[in-house]
Amino acid sequence: MASALTVLRRLYLSIYNWLVFIGWFQVLFLALKALKESGHEHVYNAVEKPLLLAQSAAVMEILHGLIGLVRSPVSSTLPQIGSRLYLTWGILWSFPEIRTHILVTSLVISWAITEIIRYSFFGMKEAFGFAPSWHLWLSTFLVLYPTGISSEVGLIYFALPYIKASEKYCFRMPNKWNFSFDYFYAAILALGIYVPGSPHLYHYMLGQRKRALSKSKKE
């Protein structure tokens, strides 16, 4: 009985990973195409549908971790997916004025390459039991994380005036629960979190890389 479940699990995860891989491949392809044909202002419009789909699908990974389908701890997937969803839905989708910014291009390309490598790696592992070029992925993050994070921070920063002006997602006082929420201040807080958060994450990835490279050296 146990092995049938294992097969089912592998089948499901293979399909999941390869589907999302295709999504991100589309994003990269359409982004580069739009960049070449129309310029950076049109990248978002070209990639919007597969981007929203592929990025939102990542929520499944939290579920996978919670029910024990995969080994990744929820504590590390949650902030990563959180920041991605915040940028995708909370900034880009919510404030159209920012969509033409050039940082959208660098963001989308950084994310797409990272995810293409990541999902193909997991897709191969689940489907075939092994995956080559683990080292490739570990080393690309050295470039893609700084470019991705800078794009994220930059886009939040440049979106601030639009956030303030639109009053979107704000909840004002007076009300009987004496509660208020200001999306503008929340965005500033988010920027603040990137200050300690980014070096912490990067340092963690460096450690992962060192460990995996030394392990493969021993083999």
Partner: protein, 297 residues
């Protein structure tokens, strides 16, 4: 007797080891280490017995009151101890004082000063009675905590890492300001008079009960803090292990019933989860130390 000190990586920590009296205590060893290394005062030292490599057991921490002989194997007159630096330490008194000082000072700032001008609101005109009572309740609470820190609580030998000062102050000071902002807000909406009275009344009763719990805990130890782990008895301790946390949680509930802010309730939830974790750990510890604890509780 000769004591060899190693770091956790196995390197000799003090070259040549230390020579101590056969009747020396762990405290004497700590003093000797401090004298040799100057930097590592006793509360910074974590001294453990070596654990065989591969073993997943938790190392035995040396008790400062015991004599070194108690840790020696058989008749040997030598001892190997593993040393770890815990980093700069502060006494719990110091830690608590700075944690509680923040809320005590920051909250009145939002009440008395035209802070809201900087958030874009005109100067406040109306102050509701509940906001004044909340100020008194809040400040009394943190004043009580500081007084208890200096006059009631009997701290064991333990200290806390210096980094905890920043972490704990961030927690108390941020939440204190967050709650103060909303309770003293110019657009604050008060609850009914009855609800306010129930909230504060219940809160005051719980604060008194909490104070009594602290007295009971204090009497378990002698003035220098020795006494270690004991089972608190009497009053609410007959019902829960950490009645002091229970009364503290309910006291905050009273404050929130009276002031009704999301900020206050968020704080309540976070504080409750932290104290619940502590209480579960203490209950487990007491069960381990006093294995008959379970039969009655």
């Amino acid at each position: 007797m000769k004591v060899t000190l190693v770091s956790r990586s196995g390197r000799e920590f003090i070259k040549g080891g230390l020579e101590l009296n056969d009747s020396a205590t762990v405290a004497d060893l700590q003093e000797a280490i401090h004298k040799r290394t100057k930097k590592f005062y006793p509360s910074r030292q974590r001294l453990t017995l070596p654990v065989p490599s591969g073993s997943r057991e938790r190392p035995v921490i040396l008790n400062y009151k015991k004599s070194l002989k108690d840790y020696c194997d058989g008749n040997e007159n030598t001892l190997t101890i593993v040393f770890k630096d815990l980093g700069p330490q502060v006494s719990y008194r110091t830690l608590f004082f700075f944690e509680y000082l923040g809320p005590l000072i920051l909250y009145p700032v939002f009440y008395y000063f035209p802070v809201y001008k900087y958030f874009g609101y005109e100067e406040k005109r109306v102050i509701h009675p509940v906001q004044t009572y909340a100020l008194y309740y809040w400040c009394f609470h943190y004043f009580k905590r500081i007084m208890e820190t200096f006059f009631i609580h009997r701290f064991s030998h333990a200290t806390s890492p210096l980094s905890n000062v920043f972490r704990n102050c961030a927690y108390y000071w941020t939440f204190g300001s967050y709650i103060a902002y909303y309770v003293n807000h110019p657009l604050y909406t008060p609850v009914s008079d009855l609800q306010m009275k129930i909230g504060f009344g219940f809160g005051i009763v719980c604060q008194l009960a909490n104070f009594y719990c602290h007295i009971i805990l204090k009497n378990l130890r002698s003035p220098d803090g020795s006494g270690g782990y004991q089972i608190p008895r009497g009053f609410l301790f007959n019902i829960v292990t950490c009645a002091n946390y229970t009364t503290e949680i309910y006291q905050w509930l009273g404050f929130n019933i009276a002031t009704q802010t999301v900020a206050g309730y968020v704080f309540l939830v976070v504080a409750t989860s932290i104290m619940t974790n502590w209480a579960l750990a203490k209950h487990r510890r007491l069960k381990k130390v006093f294995f008959f604890y379970l039969s009655n509780y």
